[in-house]
Symmetry: C2
Amino acid sequence: MSDAAEPATAFAGARVVITGGLGFIGSTLALRLAELGADLLLIDNLCPDYGGNLFNVAPIRDRVSIEIADIRDVRGMRALLGGCRYLFNLAAQTSHMDSMTDPETDLAINCRAQLTLLEACRDICPEARVVYASTRQIYGRPHYLPVDEKHPLHPVDVNGVNKMAGEAYHILFHDVYGVRATALRLTNTYGPRMRIKDARQTFVGVWLRAVLEGRRFEVWNGTQLRDLTYVDDAVEAFLLAALAPAAEGAVFNIGGDCLRLAALADAVVAANGGGGFETRDFPAERKRIDIGDYYADDTGFRELTGWRPRVAAAEGLRRSLDYFRTHLAEYL
Amino acid sequence: MSDAAEPATAFAGARVVITGGLGFIGSTLALRLAELGADLLLIDNLCPDYGGNLFNVAPIRDRVSIEIADIRDVRGMRALLGGCRYLFNLAAQTSHMDSMTDPETDLAINCRAQLTLLEACRDICPEARVVYASTRQIYGRPHYLPVDEKHPLHPVDVNGVNKMAGEAYHILFHDVYGVRATALRLTNTYGPRMRIKDARQTFVGVWLRAVLEGRRFEVWNGTQLRDLTYVDDAVEAFLLAALAPAAEGAVFNIGGDCLRLAALADAVVAANGGGGFETRDFPAERKRIDIGDYYADDTGFRELTGWRPRVAAAEGLRRSLDYFRTHLAEYL
């Protein structure tokens, strides 16, 4: 472990900006940072196709600043970064399918806005620690398992290309300008506050919604391996990354609990205490951008920060279903 | 060698579009394709900071179509791709320094316009063979030498990130939509028609200009290894790539003659029959984005197509100096 500061004290009173702060992971991070006494500014465009939802931050709404702003708005963003000590950069277009039907929007958000945001950081908060939410999608179909950070990058959709560029800008701005950026390559993150309206964040959301509504869900193929990260574990990774000096300029995989999709589907039904699913072939239009088996080697991040995932899938799914059972109407 | 068609006959009468067709490599490719009887459309924005120069195509000006258009103009580009059988996609912002001072322009050309151009290809000339001019810059500082195509990508400037994305779009559009694209990762290409006004294309241009004007030039460090590709060899690589079915969807390094920069400087002076240079330390602002030694392993392309570089540096420099001695005023 590094000599990093402890999350319990490091964020108290510190100005923390979260882009995508009303989204799934961003809002969960905000809830945790509010507990830790951070001075929070949440930026979100609340685009209906993305994950932002004001209800996500209902418990802390009177204790945080919220700006409904778009990271594509260069001037707006510059005005919001004053005094920022930690920037958690999670705003993104996350849908793989949308990136193929509307590649320009994906590029504007995941590529161009990242570049202008980093330019703004460099000018306005050059000392800020920046943690960028990257994705395992940039690896494409794994050549070997588990996938470590040296695995070649071969994105299989426009979203993957643009996220690859977005990550590379962060590392470049570290190397050239000293921007204190770290990138975390996330895998399937799930939990309370995720988008369950459709599959734009992950297929898990659709499954959760189906069992809660008493409908059967579809499992495509079912044999693929995926690792799932419970959102609290992902949030802890963001906090630890921000506090580890040795993480500056580096890229880390974040993994989780590894299951075959059929086993995960069984776990969803078990956690719900009922429900069912059908297994079918991959739809043609998704097959072209599917990546087969994936699970991450996240040894690098574990060794540097002491992080490890603490919530197994069975428990994480139970917590997720408890949350959505109570608040379902807010997410449909 | 593959069962590819021969350049000598394959292009006769075929509609060939070259973006960046008035630039250094684009115009040299056009001259060669005009010899081979192609029906040529050259697209160039003639931006004064880039390599486009109408004089480059003076010998074939009455035999080719020229459109002064910008690849960022989506509708304009769509109108120009009708009937295209071969698209050589060379239009780019190539200056590493400019990409740092004006990253947005680099992104608009090297990233966004590539994406919209590929969308246009997919719609308008889905059967066209596409060859994209990529760059060794995307590897960053080599981890090992020679650098093969499996080397990790770690671009050290904004231009490198955007070219990496531009290349990835081409391969993605092949994998997902069947666009018949190949990417060639070029190293330092030099020869007649290159930009010598400044170092925006390569340092070699500045050296050639200096000796022609009787001035001493500067060599930074001098010990670095670089491989240099004479432009006729690069042009041959583009033609062979376009004709090799097995090259579709693939990425290849293109190398050349490998020298230390001090030896190259000596060769420039020798080829000119006079001149001199000074060796100095790397300027601070360039050092941050310098990559150290580089030379390519281009075995993959050689084995697939039978290509090999035919013009050694001494001969290539002599031909270049002969050209610019006669036409210097057109390039200043």
